[in-house]
Every structure is written in C-alpha cells, then in structure tokens.
Amino acid sequence: MGHDDLAAACYALPVLVALFTVRFFYVLWRSGQPSSRPQAAGLRCLIVLGSGGHTAEMMNIVTTLQKDRFTPRYYVAALTDNMSLQKAQVYEESLIQSGEKKTVENAHFMQIYRSREVGQSYITSIATTLLATLHAMWLVIRIRPQVIFCNGPGTCFPLCVSAFLLKVFGLGWSSIFYIESIARVKKLSLSGLLLYKLRIADQFFVQWPQLQQKYPRACYAGRLM
C-alpha cells in the first residue's frame, strides 16, 4: 500500500509541477495584456503610499482617478510612516465634503511592515523583507485587490509579489501599475528594476524619456509633478 502511494505520488507530482509551470507562464503572459472586455463596474484598488515624495506623486494620481471607477480604495503605508495615511485621509475627507457620497465606506487605511528602511544594509534587508512579505501576503489575501497602484520604495515589492502569486494560484486577478518616481532620471530604483525585470507590473511608467529608451517595455507618459 505504501508502495502504491509512492507510485501515485511519483506520477502526480510531475503532472502538478507541469500544470503549475504552465499556469505560471500563462499568468506572466496574461499580465501586461490589456483587458479585452469593456469594464463598467468599480474596481477594488490597493494604493501603496511610499512616504515623502513618493506619496506626493501617488496622491497626484489618486486625485486624477475617476472615483466611481476606482472604488473601494485601500491605502497602505509603512508602519514607520505616519504622514502618508494622514494625507490620504485628508483627501478622502475632502471628497465627502465636496458632496461625493459614500466615500467614507469606500476608503480604507492600513499599515504594513517595511521591507527596508533608507540606508539599511542589504544583508539585514533579507530578514525584514521576509517579514514584510508574510504581512503583505496577509493584506493582499484580505483585500483581494483588482488594481494595484505603486511607485516604490521597498514597501510595494512584497505586495506586488503576493498579488502575483494570488494570480498564479487562481485566487484573484489584479492589474499592477508601477509608476517610477520622478527622482529616477537615469536608473530605475531597486523596486522598479525588480518589478520590471520579473515582469510583475502589468504596466510600467517612467517620467523621463531617456529612462524609457533604456527600458523599452516601460511607458513614458509625461511627468506627475
């Protein structure tokens, strides 16, 4: 009987691995393909606020978004960053005051462990990234975003990887948009480079034409600031 189980496993395992591999490459291909069906309903959004200048740029995008299309909105910022969520909160409250109803239920604010602090060494970053990734996975499973907006720094990488894995396991589909910071003129940031090279971002924007020339799959659509 033990022998039969082993034999069954020997057959089943390669099949599962093959199926998983096919699924993985299918998801990799599908990400980056524009939607073929017209979209009408609101989409659940995960908006990653990266602190400082990153948050300022992201809020420029958020204020331009059509609020009825991109709703509900889940804002996530690093645990050590107490300014960013406050800025998003002030903005969401201004929407309520300007008469757009129900926005109060449509905005949510959450914090996440940070994978890397400014100036932290790359070696200790490995442990903190692992912790941040587990937390990110938990958040992504809870939120089940359909759209993700991010622009670095470190905080967004584990969230994007988790969302990608969710796609591979068939637990939810999300489109990931990465908008590289305006401060990056000649080189991508670490998070940007990883999301670009691993093809995790569905659409990848840069804010300088010379950067687009270096990374041809990126899209230059002007400056946010």
Binding site: P34, S35, S36, R37, P38, Q39, L43, G52, G53, A56, E57, N60, I61, T63, T64, L65, Q66, R69, G119, V147, S175, F177, I179, S181, I182, A183, R184, V185, K186, K187, S189, D202, Q203, F205, Q207, W208, C219, A221, G222, R223, L224, M225
Partner: protein
C-alpha cells in the same frame, strides 16, 4: 532704516540631516557672496542636523536666523527671494511651483545617491542651479537668475488615461 527692502534667502534641508549644507551657508565666503548679490536675510531650516549656525543681527551684515522644524515652511518659501534646498524631490517641486529661484545642494554623504540625478537633470534644463556644499559660494557669485526657465508642472492625466484604457474603461 526699517523700510529697506528685505530680500530673504531661505535654506531648507527638509527632514534630513545635512550639516555640510548648514556649515556651507554659515561660512563667511557664502555670506559675503549673498550680501554682494543684495540679499539681506538668511533663514536656515536645519532639520535633524547638529551643527548650529551663528545668529547674527545688525544692519551692516547679513541677518542670520535658524530653526529646526516648522509647520510653516511653505510660508517661508513664499516670502523668500531665493531658496537653497537639499535635493529631495518634495522641496524641489514645491519651490519650483512657487516660481522661486532655487539652488539645490546635493548631499554627497548619502549611501544611495540617486538624488543628484533629478537636480542635475533639472539644472541641465535650466529650471534651477545645482551645487555641492563646497561649490555653493562659487555658484552664488556666478549665478544669473535671469537665465532660469520657469518650470511647467506636469500632471497625471496621461498616465490615468492609459490606465483606464488598459483596464477596459470607456474613454471619457
């Protein structure tokens, strides 16, 4: 005497620690250069730095004052005739939006110094002047603010349009 027009230079390091910049603006060389250019006041926002510049008042020389943090930095920028800033994108674009002449000083002590990229690119496009702490005096002496080109702020419209299209939303 009091109705002499005040021309203030506002120095900001944001939330960073950038003693090299505070030391540079506190040097006799830079103060003399600013005075020669017709500035009357020097206000330094020193952030988390530990170097405390000297406070000076009196009519013959540049009046110097400093503070660490303030919620009204936007107001300081608005009333300034010249802004000298660290290379953070927040300070840079806030100053450019106000249309104030700007000298960005790059902090060379930062580990991952990608910040100089933005300042150098904007300097190449003549929206601001870019210096290092040790070249600040020279930059001020040589500066001609008439050659600076106003920065036209961008917006997220194109990016948002492309995102809408990607997701299958109809055009507005």
């Amino acid at each position: 005497m009091a109705d002499r027009e005040r021309r203030t230079v506002f120095v900001t390091v944001g939330t960073t620690c950038f003693d090299a910049l505070v030391m540079a603006v506190d040097s006799p060389e830079v103060k003399k250069a600013l005075l020669q250019k017709g500035y009357t006041d020097l206000l330094i926002q020193m952030g988390r730095g530990t170097y405390v510049p000297s406070k000076v008042s009196g009519d013959a020389s540049l009046q110097v004052d400093h503070f660490t943090f303030s919620p009204s930095i936007a107001e300081n920028m608005r009333t300034a005739s010249l802004v000298i800033s660290h290379a953070g994108s927040g300070s840079i674009f806030e100053t450019l939006r106000l249309g104030k002449p700007l000298i960005v000083v790059v902090n060379e002590d930062l580990m991952d110094n990608h910040q100089s990229e933005l300042a150098e690119e904007l300097a190449e496009r003549k929206h601001l002047l870019c210096a290092r702490p040790q070249t600040l005096g020279e930059t001020i002496r040589a500066m001609d603010l008439g050659t600076l080109i106003p920065y036209v702020p961008g917006d997220a419209k194109t990016v948002v349009t492309l995102i809408n299209k990607f997701l299958g939303f109809p055009d507005d």
